[in-house]
Amino acid sequence: MLKLLDSIVELYKKAASSLPPDVENALMSAHAKETKGTNANSILATILANIRLARKTGRPICQDTGVPTFFIKVPCGVSHIELKKAIIKATRIATMEIPLRPNAVDILTEENTGDNTGRGFPILYSEETKGKTLTIDLMLKGAGCENAGQIYKLPVDELKAERDLDGVRRCVLDAVYKAQGKGCPPYIIGVGIGASKDQVTRLAKEQLLRDLKDRNKYNVLANLEKRILNDINKLGIGPLGLGGKTTAIVVKIGVNHRHPASYFVDVSVSCWANRRARLKWQIRNSKFEIRN
Protein backbone atom coordinates (compact mmCIF):
# COMPACT_ATOMS: atom_id res chain seq x y z
CA MET A 1 0.00 0.00 0.00
CA LEU A 2 3.03 2.30 0.41
CA LYS A 3 3.29 3.07 -3.29
CA LEU A 4 -0.44 3.67 -3.44
CA LEU A 5 -0.13 6.09 -0.52
CA ASP A 6 2.53 8.09 -2.38
CA SER A 7 0.44 8.12 -5.53
CA ILE A 8 -2.55 9.55 -3.64
CA VAL A 9 -0.31 12.34 -2.30
CA GLU A 10 0.70 12.99 -5.94
CA LEU A 11 -2.98 12.99 -6.90
CA TYR A 12 -3.57 15.73 -4.34
CA LYS A 13 -0.67 17.76 -5.76
CA LYS A 14 -1.99 17.45 -9.28
CA ALA A 15 -5.53 18.42 -8.34
CA ALA A 16 -4.51 21.34 -6.12
CA SER A 17 -1.95 23.01 -8.35
CA SER A 18 -2.76 22.06 -11.94
CA LEU A 19 -6.10 23.04 -13.46
CA PRO A 20 -7.40 20.47 -15.97
CA PRO A 21 -6.51 21.50 -19.56
CA ASP A 22 -10.15 21.42 -20.74
CA VAL A 23 -11.07 23.98 -18.05
CA GLU A 24 -8.04 26.15 -18.78
CA ASN A 25 -8.83 26.09 -22.52
CA ALA A 26 -12.42 27.13 -21.87
CA LEU A 27 -11.19 30.04 -19.74
CA MET A 28 -8.79 31.06 -22.53
CA SER A 29 -11.68 31.10 -25.03
CA ALA A 30 -13.74 33.15 -22.56
CA HIS A 31 -10.87 35.62 -22.24
CA ALA A 32 -10.69 35.99 -26.01
CA LYS A 33 -14.46 36.59 -26.20
CA GLU A 34 -14.58 39.35 -23.57
CA THR A 35 -13.88 42.84 -24.91
CA LYS A 36 -10.45 44.30 -24.18
CA GLY A 37 -10.43 46.95 -21.47
CA THR A 38 -13.47 45.50 -19.65
CA ASN A 39 -13.68 44.12 -16.11
CA ALA A 40 -14.24 40.66 -17.53
CA ASN A 41 -11.22 40.67 -19.83
CA SER A 42 -8.74 41.88 -17.21
CA ILE A 43 -10.06 39.51 -14.54
CA LEU A 44 -9.74 36.50 -16.86
CA ALA A 45 -6.20 37.57 -17.79
CA THR A 46 -5.26 37.53 -14.08
CA ILE A 47 -6.99 34.19 -13.56
CA LEU A 48 -5.01 32.68 -16.46
CA ALA A 49 -1.76 34.12 -15.10
CA ASN A 50 -2.59 32.59 -11.72
CA ILE A 51 -3.26 29.17 -13.27
CA ARG A 52 0.15 29.17 -14.98
CA LEU A 53 1.94 30.41 -11.87
CA ALA A 54 0.34 27.74 -9.67
CA ARG A 55 1.31 24.96 -12.09
CA LYS A 56 4.86 26.27 -12.40
CA THR A 57 5.44 26.64 -8.67
CA GLY A 58 3.37 23.66 -7.49
CA ARG A 59 1.33 25.85 -5.17
CA PRO A 60 -2.45 25.52 -4.75
CA ILE A 61 -4.37 27.50 -7.41
CA CYS A 62 -6.75 28.72 -4.70
CA GLN A 63 -6.11 28.89 -0.94
CA ASP A 64 -9.42 27.11 -0.36
CA THR A 65 -8.52 23.53 -1.15
CA GLY A 66 -12.04 22.54 -0.14
CA VAL A 67 -13.38 19.32 1.32
CA PRO A 68 -11.38 16.65 -0.53
CA THR A 69 -13.98 14.49 -2.27
CA PHE A 70 -13.05 11.07 -3.66
CA PHE A 71 -15.03 9.06 -6.20
CA ILE A 72 -13.52 5.59 -6.24
CA LYS A 73 -14.02 2.56 -8.47
CA VAL A 74 -12.64 -0.46 -6.68
CA PRO A 75 -11.91 -3.78 -8.44
CA CYS A 76 -13.04 -6.97 -6.76
CA GLY A 77 -10.60 -8.12 -4.08
CA VAL A 78 -9.26 -4.72 -3.00
CA SER A 79 -10.15 -3.88 0.59
CA HIS A 80 -12.27 -0.76 1.02
CA ILE A 81 -11.03 -0.48 4.60
CA GLU A 82 -7.35 -0.49 3.59
CA LEU A 83 -8.07 1.96 0.81
CA LYS A 84 -9.78 4.34 3.23
CA LYS A 85 -6.80 4.11 5.59
CA ALA A 86 -4.40 4.94 2.75
CA ILE A 87 -6.50 7.94 1.69
CA ILE A 88 -6.67 9.34 5.21
CA LYS A 89 -2.93 8.94 5.68
CA ALA A 90 -2.24 10.51 2.27
CA THR A 91 -4.54 13.41 3.20
CA ARG A 92 -2.45 14.15 6.29
CA ILE A 93 0.79 14.01 4.31
CA ALA A 94 -0.55 16.13 1.43
CA THR A 95 -1.86 18.74 3.87
CA MET A 96 1.64 19.18 5.29
CA GLU A 97 3.67 18.76 2.13
CA ILE A 98 1.87 20.75 -0.57
CA PRO A 99 0.57 22.37 1.73
CA LEU A 100 -3.23 22.31 1.65
CA ARG A 101 -5.29 24.52 3.90
CA PRO A 102 -6.56 22.58 6.92
CA ASN A 103 -10.34 22.84 6.56
CA ALA A 104 -11.83 20.21 8.91
CA VAL A 105 -13.64 22.00 11.76
CA ASP A 106 -15.27 20.07 14.61
CA ILE A 107 -18.91 21.12 14.91
CA LEU A 108 -18.90 20.48 18.68
CA THR A 109 -15.66 22.15 19.75
CA GLU A 110 -15.12 24.52 16.78
CA GLU A 111 -11.53 23.27 16.66
CA ASN A 112 -9.77 22.72 13.37
CA THR A 113 -8.12 19.29 13.30
CA GLY A 114 -5.23 20.79 11.33
CA ASP A 115 -4.82 17.88 8.92
CA ASN A 116 -8.00 17.81 6.80
CA THR A 117 -9.32 14.66 8.46
CA GLY A 118 -12.29 14.25 10.77
CA ARG A 119 -15.78 12.76 10.91
CA GLY A 120 -16.86 12.32 7.29
CA PHE A 121 -13.81 14.31 6.18
CA PRO A 122 -12.52 13.76 3.51
CA ILE A 123 -15.63 12.57 1.64
CA LEU A 124 -15.34 9.08 0.11
CA TYR A 125 -17.73 7.54 -2.40
CA SER A 126 -16.76 4.09 -3.57
CA GLU A 127 -18.28 1.35 -5.66
CA GLU A 128 -17.05 -1.94 -7.06
CA THR A 129 -15.96 -2.12 -10.67
CA LYS A 130 -15.12 -4.81 -13.21
CA GLY A 131 -11.54 -5.35 -14.27
CA LYS A 132 -8.22 -4.89 -12.51
CA THR A 133 -7.86 -1.12 -12.43
CA LEU A 134 -8.47 1.00 -9.37
CA THR A 135 -9.68 4.46 -10.41
CA ILE A 136 -9.67 7.35 -7.95
CA ASP A 137 -11.12 10.72 -8.92
CA LEU A 138 -10.30 13.55 -6.54
CA MET A 139 -12.26 16.78 -6.51
CA LEU A 140 -11.11 19.83 -4.56
CA LYS A 141 -14.07 22.17 -4.55
CA GLY A 142 -13.90 25.42 -2.61
CA ALA A 143 -16.63 26.34 -0.14
CA GLY A 144 -17.51 29.67 -1.76
CA CYS A 145 -19.06 27.84 -4.69
CA GLU A 146 -20.26 24.87 -2.62
CA ASN A 147 -22.35 27.39 -0.64
CA ALA A 148 -23.82 28.64 -3.94
CA GLY A 149 -25.47 25.29 -4.70
CA GLN A 150 -29.27 24.86 -4.48
CA ILE A 151 -31.75 22.01 -4.34
CA TYR A 152 -35.31 22.21 -5.72
CA LYS A 153 -38.35 20.00 -5.55
CA LEU A 154 -40.58 20.62 -8.50
CA PRO A 155 -43.03 22.18 -9.00
CA VAL A 156 -41.88 25.65 -7.87
CA ASP A 157 -44.64 28.19 -8.34
CA GLU A 158 -42.59 31.42 -8.26
CA LEU A 159 -40.32 30.10 -11.03
CA LYS A 160 -43.27 28.71 -13.01
CA ALA A 161 -41.23 25.52 -12.90
CA GLU A 162 -43.35 22.48 -13.67
CA ARG A 163 -42.24 18.86 -13.50
CA ASP A 164 -40.44 18.77 -16.79
CA LEU A 165 -37.11 19.68 -18.35
CA ASP A 166 -38.12 23.30 -18.82
CA GLY A 167 -38.77 23.35 -15.07
CA VAL A 168 -35.17 22.18 -14.64
CA ARG A 169 -33.94 25.05 -16.83
CA ARG A 170 -35.78 27.53 -14.62
CA CYS A 171 -34.22 26.09 -11.45
CA VAL A 172 -30.69 26.33 -12.84
CA LEU A 173 -31.21 29.96 -13.86
CA ASP A 174 -32.58 30.72 -10.40
CA ALA A 175 -29.54 29.13 -8.74
CA VAL A 176 -27.11 31.12 -10.88
CA TYR A 177 -29.06 34.36 -10.44
CA LYS A 178 -28.94 33.83 -6.66
CA ALA A 179 -25.23 32.95 -6.71
CA GLN A 180 -24.31 36.18 -8.54
CA GLY A 181 -20.52 36.56 -8.16
CA LYS A 182 -20.29 34.93 -4.73
CA GLY A 183 -19.05 31.55 -5.96
CA CYS A 184 -16.31 32.87 -8.32
CA PRO A 185 -17.70 32.69 -11.88
CA PRO A 186 -17.24 31.73 -14.69
CA TYR A 187 -19.05 28.70 -13.28
CA ILE A 188 -19.09 25.06 -14.23
CA ILE A 189 -22.64 23.88 -13.46
CA GLY A 190 -23.52 20.30 -12.53
CA VAL A 191 -27.20 19.32 -12.43
CA GLY A 192 -28.67 16.12 -11.01
CA ILE A 193 -32.31 15.11 -11.51
CA GLY A 194 -34.02 12.17 -9.85
CA ALA A 195 -35.93 10.57 -7.01
CA SER A 196 -34.33 11.60 -3.75
CA LYS A 197 -32.44 14.52 -2.21
CA ASP A 198 -29.22 12.67 -1.32
CA GLN A 199 -29.04 10.97 -4.69
CA VAL A 200 -29.48 14.07 -6.89
CA THR A 201 -26.95 16.03 -4.87
CA ARG A 202 -24.28 13.42 -5.49
CA LEU A 203 -25.33 13.04 -9.12
CA ALA A 204 -25.02 16.81 -9.66
CA LYS A 205 -21.53 16.82 -8.17
CA GLU A 206 -20.47 13.87 -10.31
CA GLN A 207 -21.30 15.93 -13.41
CA LEU A 208 -18.44 18.26 -12.40
CA LEU A 209 -16.02 15.40 -13.06
CA ARG A 210 -17.00 15.21 -16.73
CA ASP A 211 -14.66 16.45 -19.44
CA LEU A 212 -15.97 19.84 -20.54
CA LYS A 213 -15.91 18.74 -24.16
CA ASP A 214 -17.79 15.45 -23.76
CA ARG A 215 -21.30 15.15 -25.20
CA ASN A 216 -24.26 14.05 -23.11
CA LYS A 217 -25.34 10.57 -24.24
CA TYR A 218 -28.96 11.75 -24.37
CA ASN A 219 -29.59 14.19 -27.19
CA VAL A 220 -32.38 15.92 -25.35
CA LEU A 221 -30.04 16.63 -22.42
CA ALA A 222 -27.17 17.71 -24.69
CA ASN A 223 -29.53 20.30 -26.19
CA LEU A 224 -30.83 21.34 -22.79
CA GLU A 225 -27.25 21.85 -21.53
CA LYS A 226 -26.57 24.18 -24.47
CA ARG A 227 -29.83 26.05 -24.04
CA ILE A 228 -29.29 26.63 -20.31
CA LEU A 229 -25.67 27.76 -20.83
CA ASN A 230 -26.86 30.23 -23.41
CA ASP A 231 -29.54 31.56 -21.04
CA ILE A 232 -27.11 31.81 -18.11
CA ASN A 233 -24.74 33.90 -20.18
CA LYS A 234 -27.54 36.37 -20.93
CA LEU A 235 -27.64 37.28 -17.21
CA GLY A 236 -24.55 39.48 -17.55
CA ILE A 237 -23.12 38.51 -14.14
CA GLY A 238 -19.72 37.83 -15.72
CA PRO A 239 -16.34 36.77 -14.35
CA LEU A 240 -16.33 37.18 -10.55
CA GLY A 241 -19.70 38.87 -10.80
CA LEU A 242 -18.34 42.19 -12.04
CA GLY A 243 -20.20 42.01 -15.35
CA GLY A 244 -19.49 40.37 -18.69
CA LYS A 245 -20.48 37.78 -21.26
CA THR A 246 -19.12 34.72 -19.46
CA THR A 247 -21.04 33.74 -16.33
CA ALA A 248 -20.67 29.99 -16.95
CA ILE A 249 -18.50 27.95 -19.28
CA VAL A 250 -20.47 24.72 -19.25
CA VAL A 251 -23.62 23.01 -17.95
CA LYS A 252 -23.64 19.23 -17.43
CA ILE A 253 -26.81 17.32 -16.57
CA GLY A 254 -27.24 13.81 -15.18
CA VAL A 255 -30.55 11.97 -14.73
CA ASN A 256 -31.85 9.04 -12.71
CA HIS A 257 -35.35 7.64 -12.67
CA ARG A 258 -37.70 9.42 -10.31
CA HIS A 259 -40.64 8.48 -8.13
CA PRO A 260 -44.10 9.51 -9.49
CA ALA A 261 -44.43 11.94 -6.58
CA SER A 262 -40.88 13.35 -6.63
CA TYR A 263 -38.92 15.50 -9.03
CA PHE A 264 -35.74 16.66 -7.34
CA VAL A 265 -33.24 18.93 -9.06
CA ASP A 266 -29.87 19.68 -7.51
CA VAL A 267 -27.64 22.40 -8.90
CA SER A 268 -23.98 22.06 -7.96
CA VAL A 269 -22.01 25.20 -8.73
CA SER A 270 -18.26 25.03 -9.25
CA CYS A 271 -16.03 28.09 -9.34
CA TRP A 272 -13.78 28.56 -12.37
CA ALA A 273 -11.11 26.60 -10.47
CA ASN A 274 -12.80 23.24 -11.12
CA ARG A 275 -10.01 21.17 -9.62
CA ARG A 276 -10.07 17.46 -10.38
CA ALA A 277 -7.53 14.74 -11.06
CA ARG A 278 -7.67 11.01 -11.73
CA LEU A 279 -5.42 8.21 -10.51
CA LYS A 280 -5.47 4.92 -12.39
CA TRP A 281 -3.77 2.08 -10.57
CA GLN A 282 -3.08 -1.29 -12.20
CA ILE A 283 -3.54 -3.91 -9.49
CA ARG A 284 -1.33 -6.52 -11.23
CA ASN A 285 1.89 -4.53 -11.40
CA SER A 286 1.23 -1.47 -9.18
CA LYS A 287 1.75 0.79 -12.19
CA PHE A 288 -0.14 4.03 -12.03
CA GLU A 289 -0.84 7.21 -13.92
CA ILE A 290 -2.25 10.52 -12.77
CA ARG A 291 -4.03 12.88 -15.15
CA ASN A 292 -6.47 15.69 -15.11
Binding site: T35, I47, I61, D64, K160, G181, K234, G241, G243
Partner: protein, 207 residues
Protein backbone atom coordinates in the same frame (compact mmCIF):
# COMPACT_ATOMS: atom_id res chain seq x y z
CA UNK B 1 -24.27 43.72 -23.77
CA UNK B 2 -23.57 47.34 -22.91
CA UNK B 3 -20.70 47.95 -20.57
CA UNK B 4 -21.43 48.85 -16.98
CA UNK B 5 -21.32 52.51 -16.07
CA UNK B 6 -18.76 51.35 -13.51
CA UNK B 7 -16.48 49.59 -15.98
CA UNK B 8 -13.02 49.23 -14.49
CA UNK B 9 -10.76 52.00 -15.65
CA UNK B 10 -7.83 49.75 -16.08
CA UNK B 11 -5.51 51.90 -18.12
CA UNK B 12 -2.32 52.66 -16.20
CA UNK B 13 -3.20 56.34 -15.92
CA UNK B 14 -6.39 55.63 -14.03
CA UNK B 15 -4.93 53.10 -11.61
CA UNK B 16 -4.68 54.71 -8.19
CA UNK B 17 -1.94 53.90 -5.71
CA UNK B 18 -3.20 53.79 -2.14
CA UNK B 19 -1.05 53.66 0.95
CA UNK B 20 -2.17 52.29 4.30
CA UNK B 21 -3.37 53.38 6.76
CA UNK B 22 -6.05 55.26 4.82
CA UNK B 23 -7.51 58.64 5.71
CA UNK B 24 -11.12 59.65 5.14
CA UNK B 25 -9.86 62.03 2.43
CA UNK B 26 -8.22 59.10 0.63
CA UNK B 27 -11.48 57.16 0.75
CA UNK B 28 -13.58 60.02 -0.57
CA UNK B 29 -11.37 60.14 -3.66
CA UNK B 30 -12.27 56.54 -4.51
CA UNK B 31 -15.22 55.69 -6.72
CA UNK B 32 -16.80 52.48 -7.95
CA UNK B 33 -14.83 51.25 -10.96
CA UNK B 34 -11.45 52.58 -9.82
CA UNK B 35 -8.61 50.10 -10.07
CA UNK B 36 -6.24 50.44 -7.11
CA UNK B 37 -2.85 49.12 -6.08
CA UNK B 38 -2.51 48.83 -2.31
CA UNK B 39 0.71 49.35 -0.36
CA UNK B 40 1.45 48.94 3.34
CA UNK B 41 0.07 46.94 6.23
CA UNK B 42 -3.35 45.30 6.17
CA UNK B 43 -5.07 42.68 8.33
CA UNK B 44 -7.03 39.57 7.41
CA UNK B 45 -10.20 38.44 9.11
CA UNK B 46 -13.05 36.16 8.17
CA UNK B 47 -15.97 34.36 9.86
CA UNK B 48 -14.51 33.78 13.35
CA UNK B 49 -12.73 37.12 13.63
CA UNK B 50 -15.94 38.93 12.70
CA UNK B 51 -18.10 36.99 15.13
CA UNK B 52 -15.53 37.56 17.89
CA UNK B 53 -15.06 41.30 17.30
CA UNK B 54 -18.82 41.77 16.95
CA UNK B 55 -19.70 40.15 20.27
CA UNK B 56 -16.67 41.06 22.39
CA UNK B 57 -16.66 44.78 21.52
CA UNK B 58 -12.94 45.05 22.33
CA UNK B 59 -11.10 48.26 23.11
CA UNK B 60 -8.31 49.25 20.72
CA UNK B 61 -5.63 48.30 23.27
CA UNK B 62 -6.99 44.76 23.49
CA UNK B 63 -6.10 44.16 19.84
CA UNK B 64 -2.39 43.88 18.99
CA UNK B 65 -2.80 45.69 15.64
CA UNK B 66 -4.03 49.21 15.12
CA UNK B 67 -7.19 48.81 13.06
CA UNK B 68 -7.75 52.57 12.58
CA UNK B 69 -7.63 53.39 8.88
CA UNK B 70 -6.91 49.76 8.08
CA UNK B 71 -8.18 47.51 5.34
CA UNK B 72 -9.71 44.29 6.67
CA UNK B 73 -9.11 41.61 4.05
CA UNK B 74 -11.56 38.67 3.96
CA UNK B 75 -8.96 35.98 3.46
CA UNK B 76 -8.15 32.59 4.96
CA UNK B 77 -4.63 31.96 3.69
CA UNK B 78 -2.38 28.94 3.45
CA UNK B 79 0.71 29.77 5.48
CA UNK B 80 3.76 27.67 6.22
CA UNK B 81 5.80 28.15 9.35
CA UNK B 82 9.51 28.15 8.52
CA UNK B 83 12.67 28.87 10.50
CA UNK B 84 12.67 32.39 9.10
CA UNK B 85 9.06 32.98 10.10
CA UNK B 86 5.70 32.64 8.39
CA UNK B 87 5.59 32.20 4.63
CA UNK B 88 2.45 32.89 2.63
CA UNK B 89 1.82 30.12 0.09
CA UNK B 90 -1.60 31.08 -1.27
CA UNK B 91 -4.05 33.76 -0.22
CA UNK B 92 -6.94 35.06 -2.31
CA UNK B 93 -10.22 36.52 -1.05
CA UNK B 94 -13.10 34.62 0.53
CA UNK B 95 -16.83 35.37 0.01
CA UNK B 96 -17.61 38.59 1.89
CA UNK B 97 -21.37 38.16 2.15
CA UNK B 98 -21.04 35.67 5.01
CA UNK B 99 -19.96 38.47 7.35
CA UNK B 100 -22.69 40.89 6.26
CA UNK B 101 -24.46 40.55 9.63
CA UNK B 102 -21.32 41.74 11.48
CA UNK B 103 -19.42 44.09 9.18
CA UNK B 104 -21.40 47.31 9.73
CA UNK B 105 -20.62 47.24 13.45
CA UNK B 106 -16.97 46.23 12.95
CA UNK B 107 -16.48 49.17 10.58
CA UNK B 108 -17.98 51.73 12.94
CA UNK B 109 -16.52 50.41 16.21
CA UNK B 110 -13.00 49.62 15.13
CA UNK B 111 -12.39 52.51 12.72
CA UNK B 112 -11.69 50.51 9.57
CA UNK B 113 -11.62 52.56 6.37
CA UNK B 114 -11.53 49.65 3.96
CA UNK B 115 -12.93 46.16 3.60
CA UNK B 116 -11.66 43.81 0.91
CA UNK B 117 -12.99 40.49 -0.31
CA UNK B 118 -15.00 39.03 -3.15
CA UNK B 119 -18.61 38.86 -4.24
CA UNK B 120 -19.66 42.16 -2.67
CA UNK B 121 -21.80 42.92 0.37
CA UNK B 122 -25.35 43.96 1.19
CA UNK B 123 -27.43 46.90 2.31
CA UNK B 124 -26.18 47.08 5.92
CA UNK B 125 -22.59 47.37 4.72
CA UNK B 126 -23.47 49.90 2.00
CA UNK B 127 -24.99 52.11 4.71
CA UNK B 128 -22.01 51.63 7.02
CA UNK B 129 -19.58 52.55 4.23
CA UNK B 130 -21.48 55.77 3.63
CA UNK B 131 -21.78 56.69 7.30
CA UNK B 132 -18.14 55.97 8.12
CA UNK B 133 -16.41 57.03 4.87
CA UNK B 134 -15.24 53.51 4.22
CA UNK B 135 -14.71 51.59 0.96
CA UNK B 136 -15.23 48.00 -0.25
CA UNK B 137 -12.53 46.61 -2.51
CA UNK B 138 -12.98 43.56 -4.69
CA UNK B 139 -9.98 41.43 -5.49
CA UNK B 140 -9.66 38.39 -7.68
CA UNK B 141 -11.32 35.24 -6.33
CA UNK B 142 -9.20 32.14 -6.75
CA UNK B 143 -6.07 34.01 -7.84
CA UNK B 144 -4.39 32.87 -4.65
CA UNK B 145 -0.84 32.44 -5.92
CA UNK B 146 -0.86 35.63 -7.97
CA UNK B 147 -2.11 37.60 -4.97
CA UNK B 148 0.19 35.89 -2.45
CA UNK B 149 3.11 37.19 -4.50
CA UNK B 150 1.88 40.76 -3.83
CA UNK B 151 2.39 40.20 -0.11
CA UNK B 152 5.97 41.12 0.75
CA UNK B 153 5.92 39.75 4.26
CA UNK B 154 3.73 38.09 6.84
CA UNK B 155 4.44 40.45 9.73
CA UNK B 156 2.47 38.99 12.61
CA UNK B 157 -0.59 37.00 13.64
CA UNK B 158 -3.25 37.16 16.34
CA UNK B 159 -5.52 34.32 17.56
CA UNK B 160 -3.62 31.66 15.59
CA UNK B 161 -3.98 28.98 18.21
CA UNK B 162 -7.59 29.73 19.04
CA UNK B 163 -8.96 30.23 15.52
CA UNK B 164 -6.49 28.24 13.39
CA UNK B 165 -4.56 29.17 10.24
CA UNK B 166 -7.52 30.00 8.00
CA UNK B 167 -9.40 32.02 10.59
CA UNK B 168 -6.66 33.91 12.47
CA UNK B 169 -6.02 37.62 12.02
CA UNK B 170 -2.83 37.95 9.97
CA UNK B 171 -0.89 41.17 9.47
CA UNK B 172 0.41 41.40 5.88
CA UNK B 173 2.78 43.93 4.36
CA UNK B 174 1.60 44.29 0.75
CA UNK B 175 3.05 45.94 -2.35
CA UNK B 176 1.02 46.84 -5.44
CA UNK B 177 -1.78 44.54 -4.32
CA UNK B 178 -4.49 44.86 -7.01
CA UNK B 179 -8.18 45.44 -6.32
CA UNK B 180 -11.20 47.26 -7.74
CA UNK B 181 -13.49 49.60 -5.86
CA UNK B 182 -16.94 48.00 -6.16
CA UNK B 183 -18.73 49.76 -3.27
CA UNK B 184 -17.80 53.32 -2.37
CA UNK B 185 -18.45 55.86 0.39
CA UNK B 186 -21.08 57.57 -1.77
CA UNK B 187 -23.49 54.63 -1.50
CA UNK B 188 -22.77 53.29 -5.00
CA UNK B 189 -22.41 49.53 -5.50
CA UNK B 190 -21.42 47.70 -8.65
CA UNK B 191 -22.85 44.49 -7.14
CA UNK B 192 -26.24 46.10 -6.66
CA UNK B 193 -26.20 47.30 -10.26
CA UNK B 194 -25.22 43.89 -11.69
CA UNK B 195 -27.83 42.16 -9.57
CA UNK B 196 -30.57 44.56 -10.72
CA UNK B 197 -29.67 44.12 -14.37
CA UNK B 198 -29.43 40.34 -14.07
CA UNK B 199 -32.79 40.28 -12.29
CA UNK B 200 -34.60 41.84 -15.24
CA UNK B 201 -32.87 39.41 -17.65
CA UNK B 202 -33.72 36.48 -15.36
CA UNK B 203 -37.39 37.52 -15.18
CA UNK B 204 -37.57 37.61 -18.98
CA UNK B 205 -35.98 34.14 -19.23
CA UNK B 206 -38.53 32.55 -16.91
CA UNK B 207 -41.67 34.43 -17.96
Amino acid sequence: MANSKFEIRNSKLKTKQITLPLTKDDVMKLHVGDMVLINGLLVTGRDKVHKFLFHERLKAEQIPFNLKGMILYHCGPIIRKTEKGFKLIAGGPTTSMRVEIYEHQIISEYGLLGVMGKGGMGKKTIDALKKNSCVYLHTIGGAAVYLADRVKRVVDVWKLKEFGMAEAMWLFDVADFPAVVTMDAYGESLHEEIEKRSYSKFKRLIK
